[in-house]
Symmetry: C2
Subunit: 387 residues, 2 copies
């Protein structure tokens, strides 16, 4: 149960033929009555922006934050496809709008898959009527299936608020699945809220979840997170809505990290004692994105010297005489040198599915955390394949 | 032939027992008469600075740019070893100085190997007399052998100038060999030059060689490049000395890239048409350090969409309608979309040992190049091992 858990939404997922495998590849989330409701979106910062990102953000601007549906497709990212790509994404929105009886500006679009290949519009044109006619209140599982690419499991979440619900589905993790690129998430709620409220809740939720997730340091051309509010549950406490949206984002981000391409471990990198929160975030990301640290986690190796070396080259305030490093709460180095510690406890922690690395810089009160994973043979396998 | 090709230098390489394998692990480059000559050094920017880097830079400052010898050891980086590490490195310099009859400030030190482990000073104290007594004019091969860690071949160079010679040896590449970390290079020349001249030549040479080499984006705690000038060949044209030093650095950097850990391909990433040279360098490094691009090169896949996506997220001026990407001189994408091109020619280029990727941003005259390699199963193997 995911995007139709909140009242007022329907969903569908069908196979149109974009994927040669014949798996589901077209997905729809829509309001039950086809009328637009308050909506907000957060999009990739990559300047190599995919057509669906350009079209969705343009539609949200044109509608003043109103949407009746989101159409999603997998198998082709419609990125690096030029003006034709924008025309194709716009046409997909218009086809869905015609079936729903709404304005085409009220349809948003998300796409994921290969970069640089024109969309197979013939199969998509044929598939959209099948998609829209399949929409129903229990179509959320099919919808979440249809956005999977190299994901091994569906990512779904439902958060129950006080008198309202937030539900969502997602795929991928920031560029973790590059041949089938992108992280996409669609959230729905039955809370009543303005587009501005939704945008604020989404920005806050994304900052604490998807934006602290770093699988390989790459930012996709297509990353998109959308939130639609039907209002069916009436007005709610804004703080409660913020909290529920944040919890939904956090759950989906953890699910992505757990399913990251080829990963055997989820790793939280915490940096404390930095000069500022910003510097802590830079340092944590440096460690999280380090190929050397990622390989050592794969090898279950508590090689703190690599962590310290990355911190020292992160470009933030750093004094090697003050740094300490801990794995799973056991401090292995302090004052820049290794100290006596419980090696068995650390070894046991490194064997687990989830590793916690904490580095304290000893300089100030700045802190930040990044969620990442290990670098494995399977990651290389999945990413060396032909485009 | 390497560090003793220039007149006035001797070298040696012996096994002391730092490496459990029994391979050579102590190396020496010294002036033939044990007297100090003009010297200069360039060191890592990592703030997690290893003890030998602190000691060598301190000795160069104290001596005003004079050195009689460089002692090098492999198997233990003497990094993250605190005050004891500095005392140990200083003692190693003093032991060599006593044997050579020079001041201890006139001995520089380079070390490479594991981080965070105290130096085995007992075996080193016993090994240094063996090392210094083995020094001779044809000891350069032994010296270059003794600094190898995971290097599969020695890196040596000799550049003949007009009436003078520049020779050098090196190991590793910036953190390509993390368990046995570090890139080290020692260059010698018989040209007569001041320490300031040497420093300027070295900074220029390093900027165009080691500093455009990026194996995995990591910066070692121990990176060091040293240049000693015996003056035996007398004064030379400063421009000719600069050029010879630059050529020697470039050759050693190419040798490192070719021997990068687990790599099957050397890759030059060229960015042209950037807003500035600085922005071109940022963009080129983003592509070179991308795990996704590196995996695609391993798979011989000319997946230009990944290159464009990295350029778009590099944080520099970028317009996707203007970008073009070429492999081996064959343009595969122009104006942000794929164009007709000779696929067979590109496929042949991707099969080669050396790949050239050129991205033109279409914005200005800024250009930069980065030398890197692919990301392979063997890299993961070599870096997941226990510390």
């Amino acid at each position: 149960v995911s995007v139709t858990a909140a009242q007022g939404f329907v969903a569908a997922g069908v196979a149109s033929g974009i994927k040669p495998s014949g798996d589901r590849d077209l997905s729809l989330v829509a309001t039950a009555d086809g009328r637009p409701v308050a909506a907000a979106g957060v999009f990739t910062s990559n300047k190599m922006t995919a057509a669906p990102v350009l079209v969705s953000s343009s539609h949200l601007r044109a509608s003043g934050g109103q949407a009746a549906a989101v159409v999603l497709s997998s198998g082709n990212a419609n990125a690096a496809t030029g003006e034709q790509g924008e025309a194709d994404a716009t046409e997909m929105c218009a086809l869905v709008a015609a079936d729903l009886g709404c304005d085409h500006h009220h349809v948003l679009i998300c796409q994921t898959g290969l970069i640089g290949i024109p969309l197979p519009m013939d199969v998509i044109r044929a598939g959209i009527p099948t998609l829209t006619s399949a929409r129903r209140a229990d179509g959320d599982t099919d919808a979440a299936e249809a956005i999977r690419t190299t994901d091994t499991v569906r990512k779904e979440v439902v958060i129950g608020g006080d008198g309202f619900t937030v539900g969502g589905m997602a795929k991928g993790a920031a560029m973790l699945a590059p041949n089938m690129a992108t992280m996409l998430a669609v959230l729905t709620t039955d809370a009543a809220a303005t587009p501005d409220q939704l945008k604020a809740a989404l920005v806050r939720g994304v900052a604490g979840s998807f934006n602290v997730l770093s699988v390989d340091g790459c930012t996709s051309t297509n990353d998109t997170v959308l939130l639609l509010a039907s209002g069916a549950a009436g007005p709610v406490d804004p703080g409660a809505l913020d909290a529920a949206v944040a919890a939904a984002c956090a759950s989906l981000a953890e699910q992505m990290a757990g399913d990251a391409e080829g990963a055997t471990k989820t790793v939280w990198v915490h940096v404390t004692g930095a000069h500022s929160d910003e510097e802590a975030a830079v340092a944590a990301r440096r460690v999280a994105d380090s190929a050397l640290c990622k390989c050592s986690w794969y090898g279950r190796d508590p090689y703190w010297g690599r962590v310290a070396s990355e911190l020292g080259s992160a470009g933030v305030a750093f004094d090697q005489r003050l740094v300490s490093v801990a794995y799973g709460g056991v401090t292995v180095a302090h004052g820049g040198v290794e100290i006596d510690h419980d090696r068995a406890a650390v070894a046991t922690h490194m064997e687990g599915r989830r590793i916690e690395v904490t580095a304290d810089l000893g300089l100030g009160a700045g802190r930040a955390s990044i969620l990442t994973n290990d670098l494995t043979h399977a990651y290389v396998d999945e990413n060396m394949g032909t485009s």
